[in-house]
């Protein structure tokens, strides 16, 4: 495990050093952006709509019982933008795009395509890892920015139509405006940026160390997704502590 962590840190450092080559790799970045961003948009919409709905459904009736229905918008709104949107979308992207990254790079590794690049003095980090890292670091925060209002809409809709909650759109969004500010949204976007870097580097590293044919590729994909999710949840705790400290 410690060897893997060390290798991931070195790979991240090598990727940072390759950043000046980003402009030359712009076509690959755009391709990856399309794959990660556009390809996930519909799924992100559905996920965030239902996250908002479920959150309203779980908390709304309890708040109403205690005569606190007026705080529903703020509570749900803040939960979505600070926690649920960045974490759940990161898990979704780890499963969807992280797995694709490790499978693609792993298959290139197994079928000697990466060796072929090396014989031509083409650095696999700048050719394969850098475009994917840039794309996911741009795509995930953008998706989160998009998912936050969709989640709010889902929560507001359920709050309005559920007879146990019956909080109107106006009341819901009035409280949300009072409680949630740009800093809260930035909080969620910042978290998602860090999660994106973690997913990208873990998935690319797992692809690069793939061994042993199709079974090895499958093993790499599983490890990439599981390790990314574990890393997201651990990072979430420390980032939350850090952001609470910074916002004091």
């Amino acid at each position: 495990m410690f060897q893997n962590i060390g290798e991931i840190i070195i790979l991240f450092w090598q990727t940072l050093r390759a950043l000046p080559l980003a402009w030359h790799q712009r076509r690959k970045v755009v391709d990856q952006l399309f794959e990660i961003g556009n390809g996930s948009l519909m799924m992100v919409c559905i996920l965030s709509l239902f996250i908002g709905g479920v959150l309203a459904l779980q908390t709304g009736p309890e708040l109403v019982k205690r005569g606190l229905s007026f705080v529903l918008g703020g509570m749900v709104g803040e939960s979505i933008c600070k926690e649920l949107a960045p974490v759940l979308l990161a898990i979704l992207i780890a499963g969807r795009s992280g797995s694709a990254m490790s499978a693609e790079i792993g298959s290139m590794r197994v079928y000697e395509e990466i060796d072929a690049l090396r014989t031509m003095n083409i650095d696999p980090v700048s050719y394969l890892v850098l475009p994917r890292m840039l794309a996911i670091a741009l795509a995930l925060p953008t998706l989160v920015l998009f998912a936050i209002p969709v989640g709010w809409l889902g929560a507001a809709f359920i709050s309005a139509i559920n007879h146990q909650i019956a909080v109107s759109f106006n009341v819901f969004f009035q409280d949300l405006r009072d409680v949630v500010d740009a800093g809260d949204v930035a909080n969620g976007v910042f978290k998602s940026f860090v999660f994106a870097l973690a997913i990208g580097i873990i998935s690319c590293h797992q692809g690069l160390i793939t061994r042993g044919g199709p079974r090895g590729i499958g093993r790499s994909v599983t490890k990439a997704v599981v390790n990314s999710i574990v890393c997201i949840l651990i990072l979430d705790y420390f980032l939350t502590r850090f952001l609470i400290y910074v916002q004091k």
């Binding site: 014989t119 003095n121 083409i122």
Partner: protein
């Protein structure tokens, strides 16, 4: 690896006392051999004998545990020396990038190193594809090509750097006999066309005896013999004799050609 140049002086390769182990198992046990500039040197041996590992040492993909590899008398342990010579490798699997078209695969070295403008790269790619008989195939994807065509694209990709040394790893594996002959002829034609030194690793006896100027036989990580192809045919070492003359037992053998070693291509 340096940018392509017009002049293509070929190079000599020398391997000195090369040792390599993987997970405690010694794969190369003190390999010594030397190739002359411009020759086709075939390294022959059974599967798992360490041929491909040796080739990967020469191209710099694997670091030796001990021993050294010299090109034109200079050790390639230093990346500067390794980059001084133009070396290319044609992989067993062809190793074409499946997400790129044939043209992009062939031109990848030039485009990634930004050596020429796109129009010039397209012209060079077309010329190299013509050399391997694949003129006009730039837009096709690797998965649309046969195994033999993929190998020829890989050869065209190697030619783009105007190599002084070309390494072929099992160039006829997974090919039918007719396509294997085509690839063998291609290697011979490249020798005349580029004057580059070629090192070919194979367990295909027909290919080895068909194209080799000199040969080496490797078994269980050791070189058994280095010499002209004729020296192998008459060698009494049972490991060499058995490899070269291995045949199916009768009655199947009756259906096979009597001489397992074809005349030189």
């Amino acid at each position: 690896m340096n940018p392509p140049a017009q002049a293509t002086p070929n190079v000599s390769v020398e391997v000195r006392d090369l040792h390599k182990s993987f997970h405690g198992q010694e794969v190369l046990k003190g390999i010594n051999l030397k190739t002359a500039p411009g020759e086709i040197f075939v390294i022959m041996g059974p599967s798992g004998s360490g041929k491909s590992v040796l080739l990967k040492h020469i191209i710099g993909l694997v670091e030796p545990d001990s021993g050294e590899i010299l090109i034109q008398g200079e050790s390639i342990a230093s990346p500067d020396i390794r980059d001084k010579y133009r070396m290319a490798m044609v992989f067993q699997s062809a190793a074409l990038l499946t997400s790129l078209s044939v043209g992009e695969n062939v031109g990848i070295y030039l485009s990634e190193h930004r050596l020429y403008p796109p129009e010039e790269i397209a012209r060079i790619v077309a010329a190299k594809l013509e050399v391997v008989g694949l003129k006009g195939e730039e837009e096709r994807m690797p998965n649309e090509l046969s195994g033999g065509m993929q190998k020829r694209v890989a050869i065209a990709r190697a030619l783009v750097i105007d190599p002084q040394l070309i390494l072929f790893d099992e160039p006829t594996s997974e090919l039918d006999p007719l396509m294997a002959v085509v690839v063998g002829e291609e290697i011979l034609r490249l020798k005349n066309f580029t004057q580059a030194t070629s090192i070919v690793v194979t367990h295909d006896r027909a290919l080895a005896f068909g194209i080799a100027d000199r040969m080496a036989m490797i078994s269980e990580g050791e070189i058994l013999l280095v010499g002209a192809p004729e020296e192998f045919k008459d060698n009494a070492d049972p490991r060499i004799h058995d490899f070269i003359y291995a045949e199916l037992p009768a009655p199947h053998a009756a259906a096979k050609r009597t001489d397992p070693i074809p005349p030189k291509l």
